[in-house]
Structure formats: structure tokens, C-alpha cells
Point group: C2
Chain length 218, copies 2
């Protein structure tokens, strides 16, 4: 849920200008290009030259449209959650906790290997480590990550209340576990793992899923 931590100062510039010369490039397409560069190289690893080259737009155009590098990254991160990590909120609507976990893990396996030129997860690649100047960005990624995990935990608490998970189940630990496996797969995808291999990891992770009172096993 990164939008809550975003600096919105430059969002207003997306409106169509009523006067003066019109913007000649498509902001959405530029954002997509930036997203790919950040996905591949992380926040600090992506230079403005990388970004302008990928976007096909000169440097001042990017600044006028998004503010600065950090704001551009936050826009890209928002877009990433909306357009690529949308399987998380969708999965939460599935009927059983196990189905939720399975959908998250298999979707992650697919996403992390979908594009050969930017594997893994933008949120993980972004800034696990970096210079001190990138600390605000790192915090934004941490908060976004925590938001997704919190949603999953709440869903699993509901499942426990519904008898879909046993009384002994610990929703917080289960949610952390699912996210840990997902993050681990993101790292492995960066190391070149195939989708099949990641799906085998997901399968193993699911093989221990606790059964609810009304669940039929098999």
C-alpha cells in the first residue's frame, strides 16, 4: 500500500495543460519505461541516463513531469503494485486460506520470471542495501512490503475465525512465511531460476499448509 507514503506533489502535473505548449510524450509510457529500468537495476543502480534513454525523452522533460528521481521511483512503485502485484489483493478474495497462499506463491513465481530482462521483484531489487541517501526510498519499499503482508495476515485471521485454519494456527507467522517464500523466490529469480523451479518451491511451501476443521484433505 505504497500510495499512503507517497509524495503527491507532482501528481497534479498529469492533468492536461490548458495553456502553453503541450507535452509531446506519453506520461504513462514513460512511467512504464522507468518502471522496467528500476525493476532491473534498482533505485540507485538506475541512472538518469538509463531512464531517459529507455523513455526516449530528454532529462528536463522527466524532471518537469515527475519532479525528481525519488518521486519518479515512487510513481513507478505505485504502478508496480497496481499493475503487477495486483494478484495479492485479488488472492485475498479466494474462499480458502490455502487457496490464497497458493495463488500468491504461484503468481509470484510467474511474475518473477515473466520478463527475462528484469527478473525478480521491483520491491525487493529496489534497495535492499544502498547509500544513506537512499534511506527514504528504502523505507518506502519496507512499508509497501509490510502493507501487503499485513493484508495477508488479516485475511488469515479471518480464515482462522471461520474455521478455515485450525485454532493452533498463527496467522502472523503464516503470513510472514508466505511472504518469505515469495521474497526468496524473487532472489532466486534474480539468480536465474526458471519458473518451473520456483513453482516447485511454491509447491513445497504449500505442502505444510495447516488444514482447517472443514477442509477435506487430498
Amino acid at each position: 500500500m505504497p500510495s499512503s507514503v507517497l509524495n503527491n506533489d507532482h501528481y497534479e502535473k498529469d492533468r492536461v495543460a490548458l495553456m502553453g505548449r503541450h507535452r509531446e510524450f506519453d506520461v504513462e509510457k514513460v512511467l512504464d519505461a522507468a518502471l522496467c529500468v528500476f525493476w532491473r537495476k534498482g533505485y540507485e543502480g538506475a541512472s538518469y541516463s538509463d531512464l531517459t534513454e529507455a523513455a526516449g525523452v530528454e532529462r528536463p522533460a522527466l524532471y518537469s513531469a515527475f519532479g525528481n528521481k525519488e518521486a519518479l521511483f515512487r510513481r513507478a512503485l505505485d504502478r508496480y503494485y497496481e499493475r503487477y502485484l495486483d494478484f495479492i489483493p485479488k488472492s485475498l478474495e479466494l474462499p480458502t486460506a490455502r487457496a490464497v497462499a497458493a495463488h500468491i506463491l504461484y503468481s509470484a513465481a510467474e511474475l518473477h520470471t515473466r520478463h527475462s530482462h528484469h527478473t525478480g521483484c521491483l520491491g525487493i531489487n529496489g534497495v535492499l542495501a544502498g547509500s544513506d541517501e537512499a534511506e527514504p526510498v528504502r523505507q518506502a519499499l519496507i512499508e509497501a512490503r509490510a502493507g501487503g503482508e499485513a493484508q495477508l495476515r488479516e485475511r488469515l485471521e479471518r480464515a482462522k475465525a471461520e474455521g478455515d485454519l485450525p485454532e493452533t494456527a498463527k496467522p502472523e507467522a503464516l503470513a510472514a512465511f508466505v511472504m518469505a517464500v515469495s521474497h526468496g523466490m524473487a532472489v532466486q529469480a534474480k539468480a536465474g531460476f526458471s519458473r518451473d523451479m520456483l513453482e516447485a518451491v511454491a509447491e513445497q511451501a504449500l505442502s505444510a499448509w495447516p488444514a482447517g476443521s472443514s477442509t477435506t484433505s487430498g
Copy 2:
């Protein structure tokens, strides 16, 4: 197994000089300081100023002792595997596959939260993403990571042959799963997770461990 991919050009300089002025700093201590900086900031996130400040040594001294930043990082990575990731080869000597996996996961949970100022795993933090110039370092980390996983896979293949894992077990997938959970915990440690939380993740990961023919459950 990073030593196989290391550039050894500067190792020889560690010998005590027989002539000329003696080195005034302790190479081991400088290496430890560099290791901590890289652990915290990653490869590209750590600047030479960071390194010299942490080591208490001037820039040319680091260059004369280690060559350049990449060589220094590789030395630090070697040291990391020797002094911090030694629980992996040690765990492989445990009697059962489950004990191996448990030891790896709980050791990882401890290591990733041991130092509050550099959490997670140096191998993961190092360079998941970064500029193109860091590609050789990224490859070195990928190879080192793969080496550890390969060792675990071989150990699990042995366990399968010994009946310690069922015939249906897939050692490659199991090894990837254990490493994925470990990597995921490293990411979560970077996000501020406590050791207790990571141990809960490890426990969940182990709850599905396949039983061998001679294993008594419970």
C-alpha cells in the same frame, strides 16, 4: 564457494614484507570493517569514503592492500562465507535431512538479526540490482549462492539414497525451498523483523518436511 571465482592477484600482498616500511594497520581488522560496511550498504552503496572511515585507514592504503573496490568486496565475501555462513557446511554433517534443514534455517534467522546495524545477508544485500558496472560482482554473488544450494542438494540426494527422505522427495526442489526461505528471511530482516519472527517462519517451513522411511514423527 566464492573462492573459486576470486581474483587472487592481491592475496600475495598479505605476506609480511621483508624490506621497506612495514604496514601500520591490521589487514584482518580492515577486512572486518569493510565486511560490515558492505553488509550494510551493499557493493555499490558502499563508497570508498565509507570504507576508509570504517577502517580508519587512508584510501591508498586500502588500494595497496587489496587492489580495488571489487577485489576488496570479493575478499570480504570470502570472509563472510568463512566466518558467518560456516553454519551451512557444518549443518551438512548432521545425521538427518530434517536436522540439516532446521539448522540452516534457524542459523540464518539468528545471523540475519545478529547485528542491528547490518541486518540480513551480505550475499543478498550485496547486489540484487545495480548498475551494469557491478555485473561481475553480481555474478560472483550468484555463483556463491548457487554453491551453497548445490551442497545442500547433494546432501539431500544422499539422504534420499539413505532412506532419510522418501522416494517421492525431490532433493533439488527441497534445497531450493530451504534456500528460498533463508533468502526471504534475509529480506525480512532488512525490513526490521525480529529473530523470534524469523524463527516462526523457519518453524512453519519445517512443518512440512517429508518424513523418511525410518523416521519417527512427533
